[in-house]
């Protein structure tokens, strides 16, 4: 039994190389979507891309960073608001949408020194209050007309067909770029540090992890992602009512997608977003019972399947399609040895 010497640390497996390759090919194929998909499919896919973006951002914060925020709608709303404001100043409408995401990132940076020093429930509700306060402040802007809201009128410069294609591409590109960015960040030094902080902040600090700076990167990226999701939602719906954009239901959706898919796994929230998207397509029309079902499902997963659908599959079969962690593999029998994600 000299297997001990033959242990190897691996990140990639043939399966995960194939998975990343397939995903990249799929994204490339989707880029040609407007050529072969009908209008309805394009609209639905745009929505799905927004969901994947939101779920990945919330999972990056909570699943990897241990930061449960009930206030990510702050960035969703501010992104959309900033796009409207910039457009009113004469910035081109699509650049304004992108800059809206940048404004949300800037806001996240500005808030980070305060918010990231809060812990646990204090952070959760502190973020919620920040979102409420920003909602009230946005209402003060005369352009928004309080809860009446306004519209991104400048979008009317494009025909509905062109708008649909542009929105689709913008959503696909935003989702692709931010998911890839989070993937790259989590595979690097930041991934290890941030998970160390999640598991024990004092211990991580004592090992020389720069706690605040590390959390800040994640918080700003998540702010940018949620802000972009807000501007994308604005691009598809055109109208801006503050209560819709700053509503806590966005956080509820994010929690649902991340929990059901698998909190703290990279693939999980993507799967969760697809599940959420399908549930909405099939049961959304049932209204209230659909929402009751969402809440109850979230509770059930948190209690009985805390690693979510993907986390459970991963545990059982040693699957890793998009590896952000490492695995220990013995030379004989490349068994499903597990490392932490």
């Amino acid at each position: 039994m000299s297997a001990r010497a033959a242990l190897a640390i691996r990140r990639w497996t043939p399966l995960s190389v194939a998975a990343v390759g397939t995903l990249a090919a799929l994204a490339a194929a989707l880029a040609f979507g407007p050529l072969f998909l009908d209008a309805n499919a394009l609209d639905r896919l745009t929505t799905l891309f927004i969901y994947v973006l939101l779920a990945t951002m919330w999972n990056a914060l909570a699943g990897y960073g241990g930061l449960v925020s009930v206030g990510q709608q702050a960035f969703f709303g501010i992104g959309a608001y900033a796009a409207i404001r910039l457009s009113s100043f004469g910035v081109g409408v699509y650049p304004a949408l992108l800059l809206g995401g940048a404004c949300a990132a800037a806001l996240a940076y500005a808030l980070s020194g305060f918010a990231l020093r809060l812990r646990g429930g204090e952070f959760a509700i502190g973020m919620w209050v920040l979102a409420e306060l920003l909602h009230l402040l946005v209402n003060l802007d005369r352009l928004i007309q309080g809860e009446t809201g306004t519209s991104l009128i400048a979008l009317n410069a494009f025909s509905p067909e062109h708008r649909r294609d542009y929105n689709y591409w913008l959503a696909l590109a935003s989702m692709g770029a931010l998911v890839a960015l989070v993937f790259a960040l989590l595979r690097g030094r930041l991934g290890a540090s941030v998970q160390a902080i999640r598991d024990n902040e004092e211990a991580a600090a004592s090992l020389g992890v720069r706690v605040l700076a590390t959390k800040r990167i994640l918080f700003v990226v998540a702010g940018a992602g949620c802000g972009l999701a807000g501007t994308l939602y604005l691009a598809t719906s055109i109208s801006f009512q503050p209560a819709t954009y700053f509503g806590v239901q966005w956080t509820a959706y994010m929690i649902f997608m991340a929990l059901v898919g698998g909190l703290g796994t990279f693939e999980g929230p993507i799967l969760g977003a697809i599940v959420f998207f399908l549930m909405e397509s099939f049961f959304g029309a049932t209204g209230i019972w659909y929402l009751v079902g969402l809440g109850a499902t979230a509770v059930a997963f948190a209690l009985y399947l805390p690693r979510g659908l993907w986390g459970t599959l991963e545990e059982r079969f040693g699957l890793k399609l998009l590896p952000v962690g490492y695995r220990v593999a013995g030379a004989e029998g490349d068994g499903p040895a597990r490392g932490r994600t």
Partner: protein
């Protein structure tokens, strides 16, 4: 004079905030859980009281006496069926489960009672608008005064209960260290469930008074949770009386804000909360302090 009046009304409003906040503070102190469904449980109680009043025509106070044990049982059940399991899974899972529970409660209420805003004010007759006058410009509503008095009695009662009774001692012991408490024969599971039942009963009282002094609707819970949490943080989770002080500070800030601008009510409240939280962060205090660390 008008400013003095706003301060006095703010103090009275603070009594209501203390009522809805004390259960939140209590539960955090014992179980280290922030129950995100706290506000919704208060609204649920208000709806139950409203339904009983509507069907039988009895006084809301009598109806509350019927609802209280139900809410206590619900709190017990919530602890045993949900929180107990999620507590074992770390600090994040209780936040997620109680948030999910909040969504379930809100939408079930909507399904059952519809979107209309309700009020218990018509059922309490003159109490809803009677007032004592202090001078020519200041009036103190009898209901507001009653709510403040109930808050003081409830907070004082809880304090006495924790200090003097056997169960109170057990709760303090488990809050300090559940494992050691088990060693000396305290059943921590039962103690946790009792604490949850007490917390939910207090917010049921708060929700019922909300129904008497204003209106409520199925989705009104989160706003109450935020007010309760703000009161708790402003007062500092140090003692029960801190919660009252925090509620009063929040009420005064909101009323002064409303005097300055029409939408200043909420903005001023949130701003004071964030300022206090920011000051505490700057002073290096780590997280929320345990309820019994200093009070016991």
């Amino acid at each position: 004079m008008i400013w003095l009046n706003q301060v006095i009304q703010g103090v009275l409003l603070g009594g209501y905030y203390a009522l809805i906040a004390c259960g939140l503070s209590f539960m955090f102190g014992v179980m280290r859980v922030i129950n995100l469904a706290h506000g919704d449980l208060g609204i649920l109680a208000a709806f139950l009281v409203w339904a009983i009043v509507e069907h039988s025509g009895m006084s809301p106070f009598l109806a509350l006496a019927i609802v209280l044990p139900l809410m206590g049982a619900l709190g017990w059940l919530m602890q045993r069926a949900m929180l107990e399991r999620s507590l074992r899974a770390g600090v994040l899972v209780p936040l997620l489960t109680t948030f999910g529970l909040a969504i379930v409660i809100q939408n079930l209420l909507f399904e059952q009672f519809g979107a209309d805003t309700r009020s218990l004010a018509p059922a309490i007759g003159d109490l809803a608008f009677d007032s004592w006058s202090l001078g020519s410009q200041i009036y103190i509503g009898k209901l507001a005064g009653l709510i403040f008095a109930v808050a003081v009695v409830l907070l004082g009662g809880l304090q006495l209960f924790l200090a003097r009774t056997g169960l109170g001692r057990a709760i303090r012991a488990v809050a300090e260290d559940p494992d050691t408490a088990e060693l000396v024969g305290v059943d921590s599971r039962t103690v946790y469930a009792a604490a949850a039942a007490i917390a939910v009963m207090t917010v049921a009282v708060g929700g019922t008074f909300l129904g008497m002094r204003a209106t409520f609707a199925p989705y009104a819970g989160p706003a109450q949770l935020i007010f309760a949490f703000e009161a708790v943080v402003i007062g500092g989770i140090g003692s029960m009386w801190g919660t009252l002080a925090g509620g009063v500070a929040l009420g005064i800030a909101q009323n002064l804000g409303a005097q300055i601008a029409p939408n200043g009510f909420l903005i001023a409240g949130h701003a004071v909360f964030l300022a206090v939280l920011g000051a505490r962060v700057a002073a290096g205090e780590r997280g929320l302090r345990a309820l019994f660390g200093r009070a016991a």
